[in-house]
Symmetry: none
Subunit: 211 residues, 4 copies
Amino acid sequence: MSEKRLHILEVAEQLFYEKGFEGTSVRDIANTASVNLAMISYYFGSKEKLLTALVEWRAGYIQGVLNELVTDETLDPFEKIDRLVNLYTDKIFNHSRFHCIMTTHLPTIQSEKIKQLMTDIKLRNLDNIRRIITEGQKKGFFRKVDIELTVASIMGTITHITSSKPLYYKIYGIERNNAEAYNKKIAPKLKTHLKQLLRTHLDIKSDTGML
Amino acid sequence: MSEKRLHILEVAEQLFYEKGFEGTSVRDIANTASVNLAMISYYFGSKEKLLTALVEWRAGYIQGVLNELVTDETLDPFEKIDRLVNLYTDKIFNHSRFHCIMTTHLPTIQSEKIKQLMTDIKLRNLDNIRRIITEGQKKGFFRKVDIELTVASIMGTITHITSSKPLYYKIYGIERNNAEAYNKKIAPKLKTHLKQLLRTHLDIKSDTGML
Amino acid sequence: MSEKRLHILEVAEQLFYEKGFEGTSVRDIANTASVNLAMISYYFGSKEKLLTALVEWRAGYIQGVLNELVTDETLDPFEKIDRLVNLYTDKIFNHSRFHCIMTTHLPTIQSEKIKQLMTDIKLRNLDNIRRIITEGQKKGFFRKVDIELTVASIMGTITHITSSKPLYYKIYGIERNNAEAYNKKIAPKLKTHLKQLLRTHLDIKSDTGML
Amino acid sequence: MSEKRLHILEVAEQLFYEKGFEGTSVRDIANTASVNLAMISYYFGSKEKLLTALVEWRAGYIQGVLNELVTDETLDPFEKIDRLVNLYTDKIFNHSRFHCIMTTHLPTIQSEKIKQLMTDIKLRNLDNIRRIITEGQKKGFFRKVDIELTVASIMGTITHITSSKPLYYKIYGIERNNAEAYNKKIAPKLKTHLKQLLRTHLDIKSDTGML
DNA sequence: CATGAATGAGGGTTCATTCAT
DNA sequence: AATGAATGAACCCTCATTCAT
């Protein structure tokens, strides 16, 4: 992939993140990327195909490592959950702009192709986590929980944090748009919170007989 | 507020939910609402002011009851949390379209006024929940947790569920766009899940000394 | 139909005649007609629909009178042919620009709707003339000729004259673009030529037994 | 001329015929001809020069034989007319696409050079036919007719037939775009029709004293 | 000789908004 | 109060062409 093509994708990601897909014009992207307007059609065919290219380029970012984690035999279920939290938090924080696009802007895109792509990714993620929890249950470490909603709590918490940056900038007194400082400050807190939340949630010893 | 004005707001909410703010044209709204195109500028001044009017109209939906809950002296902290979960889940599910607009589409709006409005609402919500948890801690029921991130888990979980409808339609085998069936099936599950998650998370007896 | 709408149609006709449909931009039309660019979409929906509107507006110009002619019982077949020639020549000369668009530019339009519209008009014209000739044959005035090709000779001759103006300007020494002088000079000649051509062609007494 | 150059010309002819000059993009031609886009400018300089090259390549198709015919001393005037009809019909049918481009699309081209080229060709054709008819008149076979309009009838009839294919496909029940079947069926009919039309038109014995 | 990359101009269309009535 | 007509700006995209290699 040519360097210019990559540059366009990066710029598009930034602008889609800031202003949404519909709110970003191809002219915006061309100007910001210091690229001729026609180049974008030349490289990608259309604005929507540019978005598709962006999704295809970034979508793999969460795969791979996850598979290793799931099949690792040396870790006990709690360790796996901890690693899972680390993994997801890091991945999402490192690609927070794209993650925001995925979760907030893509749903409004009318393209069925993109919708299908997104649903597939989410289903695969869900499936991997499901296997970790199920394994923990079989081994007697975890109690019975609603797996889909547990996943929703993990993903939802991280998403909430990444997509409510303006709010948390204020709460934590971080200067606006200093994303690096934000990540550095929030990521460890978030990991600790999620690990603790999931430990008490999953630990069979926590069972209060509520369900 | 005139009936026609309300009708326009309802139609706008539906369309903003489906296609985003930028993806919805004033013509769309006028046609769908069977209203003259010029009426919308006439009533609201501009497209952005229409959105502001929508936010102001709907934003109060979570207030009021929450204040009562916080200051209610007859409930113990766990009961307050349970009520809080019921309250939020119901409110958000009953206004899921508007909630989606708030969490997914509004962040891209460039208007500072709207951003400020949203941040205010979120801060107020956060503050109310913070008071419930702090009270529980003072009374010795709750242990020390990261309050901001706990709120993030509550809001994030609900948001994740409401904004990933297409995915959960598939998982739970609900026919597409049957929002009522979705709410009826998911809401009780979600309430139970959140209550349990928060009970073990907050209960001082669950403290594993992780923090 | 509003005056402005009519004006746009007239301007479009002139420009389509001069430069073809594809060679004429909507901006051309808007500027020439001193009309805002967006008005054209406002009135007609699209460039192609503007063309359709033009066709529908002008297409009736040959109808009506033709029907009267066909059913007129007081004229003998040769008189009917003479009148037919007068009628067609006048009509086409009076709308020569539109006639050129019909015969030369429309065939390249990809729109099936317009193609169908044109074919219908031509078929109806053909049918009317066929009835005149058939009637003349039944009454024993006309001999057996290939009717379709006879019509082709009538229409083709007129079309050739109207669409080869630059050539005939030169031949007849008329100053360029003086359409009025052209029509005044050529129309009578053309009528005489066609009447004579058709008389000898159709007259049963001319039959040389070639067919 | 290189083979590739010829191929480009053939493809261009086909596309100009189908969609007009302005309606055909250089990309269309390049893709259809499986040739690099830049090749076309490389070979021909510009789109308009490509058209000029096409005209120059094909324009000679009617020349040559005609000169022989005019100066042939062994044929009587009627035989010359018959041969002329055969010659023109065959030539035009064999190059019907180019003939259509000449008569329908070229007039909109703004290039003065091309217009001049076309006018020259037409004038030369007119002149040749004029000499045949004049000769027939001098020898006492033909009566006095309007020569220019007689030529218009010949050319116009053939042009009408070749440029109204869609109509005649329908009339004669030929499957669409089967040009070969069309030519095979129509050409003989057309020749017979024109010969008969011209014989009675020109024959001094047909003179009805109308003129 | 040939081509992928790049460009400025212009294409048709839609936008949110305003005006005259 | 209410609306059809009108507008300037901007939309995404494609155009014919050129240039460096």
